[in-house]
Amino acid sequence: MDQFLRVVAVFLEVAVLSAILYCMLNGVRLALLDFGVGPKYNKVILMALAAAGSLLVVFFVAHLTTFYPTF
């Protein structure tokens, strides 16, 4: 049961963290556009942020499965 709950908890956390990450990074992208960074760089920014986001998600999954607190 504990094991099951732990899996559920990790899954929930990763889901929430990924959503938050997406929100944050997309927000950074739109803010950059707004301040005239230039539509020229849009693709570059997108790819950079997507890469950063994916790396962070991988990190979260690894971190949580390894270090999730136990009873």
Partner: protein, 674 residues
Amino acid sequence: MDFWTGQLEYIQDVFKPIIIAVLIFSPALLALFALGFYRRCLLWRLGREDKRTDSILTRIKTTLGVALAHLRFLNEAYPGWMHFLIFWGAAMIIVSKIIRLFSYLAGIDNPPQDVFLYASLASEIGAILIIIGGLLAIYRRYIVKPSRLDTKPDDTLVFLFVFLILITGFMIKGYRIATSEVSPTDWAVWSPIGYGFSKIFATFLTDYRNEILIWHRVLFHTVIAFVFGVYVFASRSRIQHLWLTPLNVFFRSLRPKGALVPIDIEKAETFGTSKIENFTWKQLLDLDACTRCGRCQDCCPAHLSGKALSPKKVIQDLKDHLNQVYPYPFVKKPVETRRDMISEAITEEVIWDCTTCRACQQACPIYIEHIDKIVDMRRNLALERAQFPESAQQALTSLGTRGHPWRGTTATRTDWTSGLEIKALSENKDIELLYWVGCTAALEDRNMKVAQATARIMQAAGINFGILGVEETCCGDPARRMGDEYLFQTLCQKNIEILRGYNVGKIMTTCPHCFNTLKNEYPQFGGNFEVIHHTQLIADLLREGRLQIGGTDGKKLTYHDSCYLGRYNDIYRAPREILRAISGTKSVELARSGAKSFCCGGGGGHMWMEEPIDKRLNVRRVEDVLKAKVDVVATACPYCLSMLEDGLKAKAAEETIKARDLSELVIEAVKKKA
């Protein structure tokens, strides 16, 4: 006191970091919010001036009524109550959280502490209300899929965003309960869902039970709001309606409903709106405030008859156009090449489709003004581009040269009076009431009977009235609604001169369009008269007993509300009093009556425009009449009378159902008595 011992520890280890986080992030959040809001303000400021700060108390009252009591929202049960739940759920959470947040600073670590627990429960109930409302909304938007709703990715994101905030809130509650060393049984009941979550999350070992883990949970909770929620979402998505809606309601128009804004012909640099910047700041605010609810579309008679016009689409297309012309508001410069707003973004077909019936504005819960924008674009078409539908052009030419739009008529202004012994003001100035006949009643064959019936009624009641006769010219309504503001002002000022010359005080008219223009628009040019409609006069006469009418002959009657009498001037009761007096209990209401009445299709200049056969509004309205299974449909407007008769002919029902003006029905009843 177990609870409070645990709480004190909790307050030291957990709550303090939260307070610090909030205190650091709040100014940053506010700054980001202000930046996002300013981003939109820059666009509204492109518009022209418009003074909207009069009658502050009235404005506050309406805003509070709409926001708190959900006036107009609740006109439709499902979306109205669904939103009510979401709004009040959010309000409960916000108030409870503020209480809980500041309870530490207020020192509620001594009794009374119950308020803390009540706030905890209230915030959870609030969250449940939002979830229920949200699920109702999701069901409606994604499964029922009513035609008036269009769903963009932004809408789905907003749902996800809100659910995310609620779920992370419960998660944090769950963590907090889980980390507390004190058994939660005595106060878990005050946070039932949080307690449930705490069971899911593993409790922490003492080593881990430190604020770092809690810190970063809380941080993420606020960081969503931080970048995306506040700046980006708040300056782009429908989340803006939280502040734009009250703002839009606050700055709503307090002018008489039927009064369009005049153009200062001498000082104006442009006539009407050919570019998006020509609109006023309030009209641009309307574009941002629109939440695409679609209520306007659902009641637009043109849209329901298959025409291209959709009020919602007009607003959204104008908004898209604004965002296309100014994609980066901070840069403050428009793009080099832009689409033409009138012919490409909106299209002339849509602009001319509107009958100015005001159903859209009546339905809009946030008081967006659709008609002003459409008429402003018509004004540009009329006065700068000289582009009209051809038949409309002919009516306006006739208006300018002959003083009435009925080209082709062989009648004169006084032909209808033959046999009635009515004197013109030029012969007899000593009158108590001027009967303003109107172009249609004076010159159009069918409507002449209405003028004759009305005159006979007044004679039967012993009213000393007169007419202008050949001196009467068009009140100007068709010109103004078709955008020819210059022609309207010419006619208007000429009429005011004549009326003042005769010292006219009280005017009665049989046409709601004349009624509206004389009453609500002539004062803009100094013409202040007491104006009544013939239904008001007849209702008064019946009430006072000055008219004796005979019994009915058992016919079943109904009344079709004229847009310019009902929605524009709130006259619903007088015609119904007349109907009841004539028919006793044999009168029924049409579907879509009263403020929701379906336009006959004659307004906005459409009396003089060609209509495609399969998209006629009057035929749609006659279908309502047929469903009501009546013998007579009563009207109070010359346009409605003509349009309904046409519609009955089109449906081959002119033998079984008669269209009559109320004055005709009354004079018949008077004759029966005599």
